[in-house]
């Protein structure tokens, strides 16, 4: 019986490197895998949610090289060499929550919680972008994140709380 050959990349797979929440990983992917499906189905990071899968709801928002994107509209193979931060990667190593996570809890900025990981990632990028100075601008620039439970006033309050405390840059 022939000995097992060294594993070969399947022909329809593309190998990329991706840093996920600070850890570099080498991944062999089918080209049509979205970043969202990679995170949830292959890496088990189910904190990032799939709402519409069409770029419309923002539930799948992650930070890609510090910028917020809809992971459902990004093919994973497009991100070779990039760094992704998901909701799982926001807390410090000792478990201390990111100030935006703390503010969401303190302001009760969710009901069912389905939109929350996307809201929090989006809000962190919003502060980095530094374009929002008041509640109206926060609402406008968070319009890519829909909350079916209608927790909007508390979401805006949570973001204002972090803004008022001087914020904390995204990791």
């Amino acid at each position: 019986m022939p000995t097992q050959a060294t594993p070969q990349a399947e022909p329809d797979r593309v190998t990329i490197t991706l840093t996920v929440n600070g850890k570099p990983r080498s991944l062999a992917l089918e080209p049509w895998t979205t970043l969202l499906d990679l995170l949830r189905e292959e890496l088990g990071l189910t904190g990032t949610k799939k709402g519409c899968d069409h770029g419309q709801c923002g539930a799948c928002t992650v930070l890609l090289d510090g910028r917020r994107v809809n992971s459902c509209l990004a093919l994973a193979v497009m991100q070779d060499g990039a760094s992704v931060t998901t909701i799982e990667g926001l807390a410090a190593a000792d478990g201390t929550l990111h100030p935006m996570q703390t503010a969401f809890i303190e302001q009760d900025a969710f009901q069912c919680g389905y939109c929350t990981p996307g809201q929090i990632c989006s809000a962190i990028a919003l502060l980095e972008e530094d374009h929002a100075q008041n509640p109206d601008e926060i609402r406008e620039l968070m319009s890519g994140n829909i909350c079916r439970c209608g927790a909007y006033p508390n979401i805006v309050a949570a973001i204002e709380q972090v803004m008022a405390s001087g914020g904390e840059p995204a990791p």
Partner: protein
């Protein structure tokens, strides 16, 4: 979405070679904010995806020696918005590009994708037409240039030849006293498709309009350059009669559809209203006293 090959070439020649060799089975991928949605809906099933974002020329913004701009077709709206000078020189083009989707969509969506997707309602297109932007395309037979208005052929179709890729937009240098603006009418303020979109670019000298171009979106199968509207403004001091004549030219150019977003009568009427408002903003930016 299975059996798709993916290529991310580093040079335009490689991209054109692979795209042309696939003979229509391939799709260009810029930000993917239209393409991925269409693939997911089963509307397109490419055998090969050619990602153009690794090609330097397609993702760079350059201010040319004469004061114009060259924007790579795959530059994202977010990156264009961060350019230190572009938004000062072309605020109307930038506001049009930045109306595309949410901030998350902006991180990816490109003006090249907006134009090549060939939606009659693409927001950046009327502003680019008003700006008199020219695109450079490259295909198996080399490079050529064409005005932005010549790119769309109808909803979802372009006049690019098989194997041709849109490389960049070139915007001309700005004379003193020039201003541009873009406005769209949508039922909500965010995340929807234009019922009508209007781009205006004009130049004022001592209060008299010396040049004007008007682009109109979502009122015909392709985005329109409304030459008569520009003509009605040139030579005037942007008085009410001249602006009404330009608005009438816009209404006359409309060949819209009836749909859930607006009826033919509504869209036609709005085209005139938007023209007036957009001219007002462009004139203020041009330094109207």
């Amino acid at each position: 979405m299975t059996d798709i090959r993916y290529l991310a070439p580093r040079t335009l020649d490689e991209a054109v070679g692979a795209f042309a060799a696939a003979r229509g089975a391939a799709r260009i991928l810029a930000g993917g904010t239209d393409l991925l949605v269409q693939m997911r809906a089963g509307a397109v099933r490419p055998g090969l995806i050619v990602d153009i974002k690794r090609i330097a020329e397609m993702t760079s913004i350059e201010e040319t020696a004469d004061g114009g701009f060259r924007i790579g077709a795959a530059v994202s709206g977010a990156v264009l918005g961060e350019h230190p000078r572009f938004g000062q020189v072309w605020p109307g083009v930038l506001e049009a590009v930045n109306l595309i989707g949410s901030t998350q969509v902006q991180g990816r969506a490109s003006p090249g994708g907006n134009l090549c997707n060939a939606s009659p309602a693409g927001d950046s297109v009327p502003a680019m037409i008003a700006a008199d932007a020219v695109v450079t395309v490259q295909g198996p037979d080399g490079r050529r240039q064409m005005p932005v208005a010549a790119v769309p052929a109808g909803p979802g179709r372009t006049n690019l030849a098989p194997g041709e890729i849109l490389v960049s937009f070139t915007l001309p240098p700005r004379p003193r006293g020039a201003g541009d603006a873009y406005l769209r009418m949508i039922p909500r303020t965010e995340m929807d498709i234009a019922v009508v979109g209007c781009g205006v670019n004009l130049t004022l000298r001592d209060g008299t309009c010396t040049a004007a171009r008007v682009g109109l979106g979502a009122v015909a199968p392709t985005v329109l350059l409304v030459g008569e509207a520009g003509k009605a403004l040139v030579g005037s001091r942007l008085d009410a009669a001249a602006i009404e004549a330009a608005a009438a030219a816009c209404r006359a150019a409309c060949r819209p559809i009836d749909d859930k977003r607006g009826t033919i009568a509504y869209r036609t009427r709005i085209a005139g209203v938007l023209l007036k408002r957009t001219v007002g903003i462009a004139a203020d930016r041009a330094g109207r006293a």
